[in-house]
């Protein structure tokens, strides 16, 4: 078995352990490349059965339009149940990154929205596509990560996790977040997408797109809700990660295929989350968000 075979086998192992030992599992589907890989692995883990859990997308109404199209098409083609949750309070207040700032926007739509959805459906285990190479606090997290009934992560008091044996015991209300891609790197993900021919949102590939400069990032104007004082210009760009369009920076790139992306990555000198505004709100902000229940 080569490196990708082993990563695949480990992730499948994690999926099966999690499903076998939980009552109401769910897969947090955020539509990006990691979610695409996660879903592909879930299908492999349970074939010929379908993955025995629904997909949950915590929507913010500010995702790229192409993401939403891709999400709906994927769920329909695979015949999987898709739950879309939008925090009703955010809908009522019209929470958006322009008027309310990225921190409040992310907290209310994503963190609070996720907690609402998990509580409403009483999910006791949620799969996520986070990887340890993404960020310093994620590098510290267990594969099976315990959450209190208030969805809090306590990084100072994580459970031991030996070999491939996972502690799944929880009391009512408590839950586990499971990260089958913990030991994958960004490059592994792209190589696997290439090898397996996994569909990903076209925004990952370079194309001429309308962009403006905001806070040092290249922001794509995806719809007419974005306040503009200038006319967007067209540049050949792609995205390394996908989130809410007003908060996700594009990179100038000519990579139009997966092999070209892999080639570009090998020469990369910045990390993928460099383009994510929400990570830079303050130092240690990912850990703080995770402690509050963010994925």
């Amino acid at each position: 078995m080569d490196h990708l075979d082993r990563l695949e086998a480990d992730s499948i192992d994690i999926f099966r352990e999690a499903v076998a030992e939980s009552e109401r599992p769910v897969l947090l589907y955020s539509i990006g490349k990691d979610s695409s890989v996660l879903l592909h692995l879930a299908r492999k883990a349970f074939h010929p059965s379908k993955p025995p859990f629904p997909l949950l997308h915590v929507d913010t109404t500010w995702k790229f339009r192409e993401m939403i199209e891709f999400r709906d098409r994927t769920a329909a083609e695979l015949g999987l149940e898709l739950i879309v949750h939008r925090n009703p309070e955010c809908v009522a207040l019209g929470i958006n990154p322009f008027d309310h700032g990225s921190a409040r926007h992310t907290d209310m739509w994503k963190t609070q929205g996720l907690r609402q959805a998990l509580d409403e459906h009483r999910f006791d285990l949620a799969f996520g596509g986070a990887r340890r190479d993404e960020e310093a606090s994620r590098a510290k997290e267990r594969v099976f990560s315990f959450r209190t009934a208030q969805h809090r992560w306590d990084p100072k008091n994580q459970r031991p996790e030996l070999w491939r044996l996972y502690n799944t015991r929880v009391a009512p209300g408590e839950s586990i977040r499971v990260f089958p891609l913990s030991n994958w790197t960004e490059l592994d993900v792209w190589r696997y997408v290439e090898r397996e021919g996994i569909p990903v949102v076209p925004l990952y590939f370079a194309a001429w797109r309308p962009v403006v400069d905001r806070d040092g990032l290249l922001i794509m104007v995806d719809d007419d809700r974005m306040p503009l004082t200038e006319s967007p210009r067209h540049e050949l760009v792609r995205f390394r990660t996908l989130g809410c369009y007003p908060l996700t920076g594009a990179v100038r790139s000519e990579a139009r295929t997966v092999p070209e992306i892999v080639e570009e990555m090998r020469a990369a000198t910045t990390s993928e989350r460099q383009g994510r505004l929400i990570d830079h709100d303050q130092s240690g902000s990912m850990e703080r968000k995770k402690r509050e229940g963010y994925f």
Partner: protein, 381 residues
């Protein structure tokens, strides 16, 4: 490219996190935005007077930065021309031993650091013993902070002798001693003029060449994790080949028990396989409608694993509440959770040899001969 998983361990303040930061930095494996964040953090909360404080690269939790210590294991990924690496940087404080054990359990090799001025401390010994218990056989002893002793060859050799003598009974296949200064980058990546008397491997050279023990082959063992029944026509066992190669047509015994059957199909989403090597995650269909469930092991029938309910075992106790003789606990054995009792008391972070009684028979193999399938883990319950 080959993968090496290794840990850095040793007593507190011996420079583990600094070493990893230095490895990443010197191998030019830091992204520009991470380096910029490190420069800013070093000025803000660093302990090196504004110079780059490499520990901040791995000590990613707020509480760790606040206290200047490592609390939990951090995993970092890097690659050189020779190999790819996953390094687990483990905490030195005794209080966080369980996090060190977590990191060590998946490692192929260990870098044990010690402060040349302090020599072998009790925590160095504890970590070396845990490394040995977990079956890691390749060890580098990084004799760190030699800059504070003027790169004295005599001090280096004294500490090496002290450690190798202590470790003689721990069953390591090799102990490579490297004279080092992580903060100054001496013998981490390249050789240094400051230690002209040392012509052995630098730490990175050792990591690039240390032998990765491949799983010993032998009679196949398949762990059933999940019974796969999409409809009335299909009944398969989804799980993992823990050892050996599982082949279509193999006669297997369902452990624990006497039931036997034959492998009819090895199913994957990419099509059926004729054989599945060690480590593969597949779904097995048997020719007979035998009963097997989660936690059972399908073992090569001509040479099955043993089954027992009483063991003598090394225990590492990781709970604040000590192990009480005779009290019921739960153990996770493969994909099975069983009750057990022990006969001796153990305190937090204590290592002992004890008699353990399970409330049901479990398949077993020696950890020495087969680290993947033979493992147990206990939790209070």
């Amino acid at each position: 490219m080959e993968l090496l998983r290794f840990i850095t361990c040793g007593s507190v303040d011996d420079g583990k996190s600094t070493l990893i930061g230095r490895l990443l930095y010197e191998s030019k494996l830091l992204y520009a935005d991470h380096l910029a964040a490190l420069e800013a953090d070093s000025r803000r909360v660093g302990t090196r007077g504004g110079e780059l404080d490499f520990a901040l690269l791995v000590d990613g939790l707020a509480a760790e930065r606040e206290q200047g210590i490592t609390i939990d294991v951090a995993y970092r990924f890097f690659a050189t021309e020779a190999r790819r690496f996953i390094v687990a940087d483990t905490p030195g404080h005794e209080q966080y031993t369980r996090n060190m054990v977590t990191g060590a359990s998946t490692a192929d090799a260990a870098v044990i650091l010690l402060d040349a001025r302090k020599g072998v401390l009790s925590q160095t010994r504890r970590h070396a013993r845990i490394v040995s218990l977990l079956g890691i056989r390749h060890v580098a002893l990084a004799v760190n902070k030699l800059d504070l002793l003027g790169y004295s060859r005599e001090s280096f050799e004294k500490v090496c002798f002290e450690f190798t003598e202590f470790a003689a009974d721990l069953g390591f296949a090799e102990i490579t001693c490297v004279p080092m200064s992580a903060t100054e980058g001496v013998n981490v990546v390249g050789h240094s003029e400051l230690t002209p008397w040392y012509d052995g491997k630098t730490l990175l050279q050792w990591l690039e060449t240390v032998v990765v023990d491949t799983e010993e082959n032998g009679p196949s063992r398949f762990l059933v994790q999940w019974v796969n029944r999409p409809d009335a026509t299909f009944r398969g066992f989804s799980g993992r080949v823990l050892r050996g190669t599982l082949r279509r047509g193999d006669e297997v015994r369902v452990l624990p028990g006497e039931r036997t059957s034959t492998v009819d199909r090895i199913v994957t989403m990419d099509g059926d396989l004729l054989e599945a090597p060690t480590g593969s995650s597949v779904t097995v269909v048997l020719t007979d409608d035998v009963d097997a469930s989660r936690g059972d092991v399908l073992a090569f029938a001509a040479d099955p694993a043993g089954v027992a309910d009483a063991f003598q075992a090394h225990l590492v106790w990781l709970n604040e509440n000590g192990l009480l003789p005779g009290r019921q606990y739960l153990a996770k054995i493969g994909a099975r959770t069983v009750g057990f009792t022990a006969t001796k008391a153990l305190q937090l972070n204590e290592i002992g040899v004890d008699s353990v009684h399970f409330d049901t028979p479990v398949p077993f193999e020696s950890y020495r001969t087969n680290a993947t399938s033979a493992r147990s883990w206990c939790s209070t319950g």
